[in-house]
Symmetry: C2
């Protein structure tokens, strides 16, 4: 009856994973990124992870749950980072730069997760989808507030609405996994800084 997973379902989410869970998730991420969620058979996941189907269904209730777990790991890190950055209370420009560099580097560090996520998010079901949207919204809103505050204090120009600035910035980041290559000429940090330069130039008074 997939006790571990059932328990997780009943009392919310755990935050540690057993080595077995880790292997299964890792295989799922790789394959989902390569062939898509629907394009990957559960049997392929267990083969790749060198475990059996019984083991997978012992730890997870369904294939869908794997998708949700992948997403949770990514958004968890990024949300925590964002909160930490905002709490520092730096000037708006420095905060924006820190946010962008962070989100670019964390995304680059977990490219397959990001690929899967931005491609398959719409396949989450009901409760999971609600949780997903809430997290995204929270992230988006925190970021927007940083920019709106900067505009209000006169540190930033108010030419483009803060909402649009965030949509643009997040759009770039969400698209990153499509074209960013870790072996390319630019490091994630350089790229994050270039994106920050760009955004800050547009906000320049």
């Amino acid at each position: 009856m997939a006790r571990a997973a059932a328990t997780r379902g009943e009392r919310g989410e755990r935050n540690t994973r057993s080595p077995m869970e880790e292997r299964i998730i890792a295989a799922a991420v790789t394959l989902f990124a390569e062939r898509g969620f629907d394009g990957t058979a559960v049997q392929q996941i267990v083969d790749h992870a060198e475990v059996t189907k019984g083991a997978l269904y012992h730890y997870f209730d369904s294939k869908d749950e794997l998708l949700y777990e992948i997403y949770r790991a990514l958004i968890g890190v990024q949300s925590a980072d964002l909160d930490a950055i905002v709490e520092r209370g730096l000037p708006a420009a420095e905060t924006v730069r820190a946010i962008l560099v962070d989100v670019v580097t964390t995304t680059a560090k977990r490219l397959p997760e990001a690929v899967v996520f931005f491609r398959e998010a719409h396949k989450l079901h009901d409760k999971q989808m609600v949780a997903y949207r809430a997290d995204r919204r929270r992230y988006h809103e925190s970021f927007r507030k940083v920019i709106a505050d900067g505009q209000a204090s006169g540190e930033f120009a108010g030419t483009v609405p803060a909402e649009t600035v965030v949509q643009i910035a997040m759009g770039v980041v969400n698209q990153l996994p499509v074209w960013f290559r870790p072996e390319g000429r630019k490091t994630a940090e350089q790229l994050g800084n270039e994106i920050a330069d760009f955004v800050l130039a547009a906000l320049r008074v």
Copy 2:
């Protein structure tokens, strides 16, 4: 043997569609956008289009071909528009604005196609994938050249590499179908102009 499709395959692509083909493609776009390519059964497509499976396979060789046709329709329009805009030989800033407004409005006008496309492009096979990449590359390169020329002539600042500017701009556009709502407060044209304002502000000398 799917004569129409076979012929298309042999001598390149046709550019007109019979009403029957139109209905099938329309159904496919709707369903792929809603449930994904792999998540949509061919039977669902024919049910939705109110045709039979025989008819579908009479006009198309495979489910994959539907995906390719969807993509062709979108890129065809956008590439043609881009070429027309560049040919006008306007100042760089105006050209950039025209490009961005055009790509935003054409994307908005074909949201489901765009959704399908940016989500499922990686499922194209070999030859189709090559054609896809070539088209994208051509578009990307034309756009980059406009910006690079503007930077060379001093009309634009050279702070951020033209390549990055294009990646950012296209990233925004590719992400559009995820969050743009036609019934929302902003029209596609307004949004296109806001994005242009943003990009041009970042390029301001």
